[in-house]
Amino acid sequence: MRTLTYAQAIREAHALLLENDPRVFLIGQGLRSPWYAGGSLEGLDSEFGPERVMDSPVSENATTGAAVGAAIAGMRPIVFHPRMDFMLLALDPIINQAANWSYMFAGQVSVPLVIRAVVNRGGEQGAQHAQAMQALFMHLPGLKVVMPSTPHDAKGLLIAAVADGNPVLYIDDRWLYDEVGPVAEEMYTVPIGTAAVRKEGADVTIVATSYMAVEAMKAVAVLAERGIDAEMIDLRSIKPWDHELIFDSVRKTGRLVISDAAWKTAGVAAEIAASVSTELFDALKAPIQRVTLPDAPAPVSAALERAYYITAGDIVTAAERAVGV
């Protein structure tokens, strides 16, 4: 099959959506700028015109609110935030409005909206250009959250998000943009709420989100050399998440490592760990391990960044601890 990079796959999904559905439009900052969007939106403004690809003023609250309103009025907007940090200026339309709208009005009006937020960190940028806040949004009823890690899923989950009929937060990570993988040419969806087994194994289950899925696959290879047969699950949908697939895997292995490159306290890993220990207490052979960022803002100095970010090595250590070596 043809291969694309992760960024190209996102771009292709946008192009197909714009081509096939006149209700779809894009609004947000940096739509025409590679500095903000990498290659993920390249050329869309010239292909589809500035009426449908609106590179906006520095107004996150208004653009997001407008996208919520347009969605309620029957459009299928995709609002783009080149960094998740900037999206925080739009918490009212996302949390108070979009997430609650369907419920408040007994489902008579809904918000078929995609909010796309990019995690873009490292490179000595510091605390306000680094934050991965999926847990914050996972917390909210009424909102769905996806985090693809492969080019195939990046395309399929975006198309699924636009089709969903609910507000969906689509989080992509700049560290994934050059990942290459097979991507079908047609429109297809990856169902929201499903995880994917990337490698089967018997000794320990590793669940990873977004970029950590890449690190987890490296960890799996190292563990194999050391005689540990790990199963790797790419979570890809944060809310709803695939309880069944993960429970089945833990029933088989009895050991669980969860890696999420976000803060530890009240994070995605904590939520999964709590559910697994409630449902599968008897199946567990070892305490659940979390591989996350320390509870601290992102530093600037490369010397501290090295200590701050987690890698395959941290997953290997956690898996070995779970297995008891």
């Binding site: 900052q29 940096g30 025409r32 700028s33 500095w35 903000y36 590179d55 906006s56 003023p57 520095v58 107004s59 996150e60 609250n61 208004a62 940090d85 900037f86 200026l89 490179g123 000595e124 940028q125 510091g126 605390a127 306000q128 250009h129 320390p294 509870d295 601290a296 803002p297 530093p299 600037v300 100095s301 490369a302 010397a303 501290l304 090295r306 200590a307 701050y308």
Partner: protein, 332 residues
């Protein structure tokens, strides 16, 4: 003009020239160090806009507050932040003004009233209003200055802050550095009219549009705003029109974003604020040899700062979790 006045005017010319020249050379040296791979934290250079920081800060006292954003090297230097400490910060060193945690976009110098610059656009505008509120409640006579760009006026923060400051007659000065771009987008791709200054009037804040490349004009307008604020007559908005010479971020000349920028840049470079300041001094009879002496002093200071930054230690890994919570009871 009496001789005292002449001396005062000359002092101001000299002070703003020195301030601008220091910023210009710091930024040019930083650009080279980025290209050499020594500085890696993203830097938004202030080259071309020096007259604003220099003119505003020359009208402030040491205790007055300033606030800034992602393009604040100039604000930090003009207010009196330590040059070597900022250079070390750009290197990510423990001796940096933010201990290597902040880099170019998070500068601080509490000892001279700079309580923080952050890259979230418009974020410090309401904080400047809050510092002015503190000054008003304490009746301590301090003025609070908020530096921000034209892009920041598109955020609700800007409009809400102007209203609040006008309503409570707070001693705050909103300094909008209108360089006509927010990253890759020209002002008129982001707003229907070139009318930032009118936001002041709409919110009941006296406002003026200035030549932001003229340090004396900026100083004069700021001095009036400071006097108004200290009298208890409330805020002022100054729209200072200027131009950034380099790219949005990094050292490149940014000629690649279209013909418009290329032509504009040439035009604005012919109104170089630093050269203008120098020429004024020479026109007033200031000896060129003394100016060269001043320039040499700046070069030495910068080279010593680079040396300091290079030889300073990196923060210790074990200190990663330090400062997540403050150890004291608060306040600068």
């Amino acid at each position: 003009m009496g001789s005292e006045q002449t001396e005062g005017a000359r002092q101001l010319l000299l002070q703003t020239y020195r301030s601008m020249r220091r910023i210009r050379r710091f930024e040019e040296r930083t650009a080279d160090l980025i290209e050499a791979g020594e500085i890696k934290t993203p830097c938004h250079l202030y080259i071309g806009q020096e007259a604003i920081a220099a003119g505003v800060c020359a009208a402030l006292g040491r205790d007055d507050y300033i606030w800034g954003g992602h393009r604040s090297h100039g604000h930090y230097l003009a207010k009196g932040g330590g040059l070597a400490a900022m250079m070390a910060e750009l290197y990510g060193k423990a001796t940096g003004c933010s201990g290597g945690r902040g880099g170019s976009m998070h500068l601080v110098a509490p000892e001279v009233g700079l309580l923080g610059t952050v890259p979230l656009v418009a974020a410090t505008i309401p904080l400047a209003v809050g510092a002015a509120l503190a000054s008003k409640l304490r009746n301590d006579g301090r003025v609070s200055v908020s530096f921000f760009g034209d892009g920041a006026t598109e955020e609700g923060h800007f409009h809400e802050s102007l209203n609040l400051a006008a309503l409570y007659r707070l001693p705050v000065i909103f300094v909008c550095e209108n360089n006509f771009y927010s990253s890759h987008l020209h002002l008129l791709e982001r707003r229907a009219e070139d009318n930032i200054v009118e936001s002041g009037r709409a919110h009941g804040v006296p406002a003026a549009r200035l030549d932001g490349n003229d340090a004396l004009a900026v100083h004069q307008a700021t001095a009036e705003a400071v006097a108004r604020a200290r009298r208890g007559d409330g805020p002022t908005l100054l729209e200072c029109r200027t131009y950034r010479w380099r790219g949005h971020v990094g050292p490149a000349w940014d000629m690649d974003v279209g013909v418009r920028r290329k032509d504009e840049l040439k035009e604005w470079q012919s109104r170089d604020p630093v050269a203008q300041g120098r020429q004024r001094l020479l026109d007033g009879g200031y000896p060129e040899a003394e100016l060269e002496q001043t320039d040499r002093g700046i070069e030495e200071e910068i080279e010593q700062a680079v040396e300091f930054a290079r030889t300073s230690p990196y923060p210790d890994e074990a200190s990663l979790l330090d400062f997540v919570y403050a150890s004291g009871t608060g306040g600068p």
